[in-house]
Subunit: 239 residues, 2 copies
């Protein structure tokens, strides 16, 4: 019988060299990641890092007036808590579960031990971080130049890529918070995509029907980010 949860459902964990596996496996604790759970708070020191398998986590900045904007989105391909091994221990952003699912957690101190040994683990985590940086940079570009319609397409594609699925459990209100726009704006943009037959949705469930057309309507930002993730973290990568 297959295990309830497999550590290799997280791509970074799956990329670890065989020789590392023994050090990691006993210390990876499965965790439930329910909608809204805050994995780390702005300015707080991290106690754990997280490796999502089926959840989507948003890194976002919450402004003084309470409005927010997403900086990046992380799923099975990544890790939550890069500031730990980058040496800052905290960041001004917050990590929140945007789509419920599962994952694994690892004690911060253990991750640091494994990271500080250098070698393949260090290089893998840094390559991942560079991919994440690209996503952040492209978010900045996209926020500046592209229409809400384009951004919604990009966001849907990026998010779905991170759970390997066609369906997203997410309200328009939440999407609006992520994109940093009005909920009504998302309703209108989603309505246009629906009318064009690209997506379906009812009460918090969005399904993509036509991925190709969605990519076509998206801005170049999606392709730039996807290409960079594929380049830096090829699924078949031998670490």
């Amino acid at each position: 019988m297959a295990p309830i949860a497999d550590q290799k459902d997280n791509q970074l964990l799956a990329m670890l060299p065989e020789s590392e596996w023994g050090h990691w496996l006993p210390n990876l604790e499965p965790v439930d990641l329910p909608l809204g759970k805050v994995l780390y708070e702005s300015g707080n020191t991290l106690t754990h890092v997280y490796f999502p398998t089926t959840a989507i986590i948003s890194l976002l900045y919450v402004m003084e007036d309470g409005s927010s904007a997403e900086i990046a989105v992380v799923g099975y391909e990544g890790i939550i808590g890069i500031s730990l091994f980058m040496g800052g221990e905290s960041t001004p952003s917050r990590a929140v579960v945007q789509s419920a699912g599962k994952g694994f957690q690892l004690k911060a101190s253990l991750l640091m031990q494994l990271f500080d040994k250098g070698g393949p683990v260090l290089h893998l985590l840094l390559r991942y971080t560079q991919a994440l940086i690209t996503q952040m940079a492209q978010t900045a570009v996209c926020n500046r130049h592209h229409t809400l319609d384009q951004q919604l397409c990009r966001w849907l594609l990026l998010s779905l890529d991170r759970i390997r699925s066609n369906e997203l459990v997410m309200t328009q209100e939440l999407i609006a918070n992520m994109l940093g726009v009005r909920r009504e704006g998302v309703t209108e943009a989603a309505g246009r995509l629906h009318k064009a037959g690209l997506i379906n949705y009812q009460r918090g469930h969005i399904t993509v029907l036509n991925r190709e057309e969605l990519e076509r309507r998206s801005c170049e930002c999606y392709a730039v980010v996807k290409k960079e993730y594929d380049r830096l973290l090829p699924a078949t990568m031998a670490v």
Copy 2:
């Protein structure tokens, strides 16, 4: 007599531990960084990294249609070419000199040798990278939520911090390219700051007269970024 150029004018170099100094100094070549010089191009493998001392370098993404947006700005406090030690060798962005000045360059292969030894050099560079990440993230937030007036204030402050000066040699056209807005928009915003007595400018020279008020008019993004740089890279840091 003081040296024409001092390697310790770059803050990262200045933070290197004494023991490292011998390995670095003979390999740091002084370079001129004239306005418009491209230090690396999107997708190209880096041959050198750069440590600015008096120049300002913009990391920007150039879109398919030719318009651009700044992702981050780097000066004497940093290094150009993080993708090298992050392991990607290239990035989808471009690095361009926005304010002429000087700096030092180091061969990519040498930097990698020094980085791969691990220890304080590695940790210093990673901490710097985290500060840079914060700047990028905040750029995304700022692009989404803040007015051009606020963004101009933020941008002036960030840029001036990076050359330790009150005067910037830069046309409004260039600033517009960086912010990803129309030149006319910058003219209007700058006009308002001028009218309020906060800045002076004529033909490509901008002088800040009232820094406090400029900070007050800026959005919170400037303070967030500054605080994070100060936290991660304190000038008095013992590496």
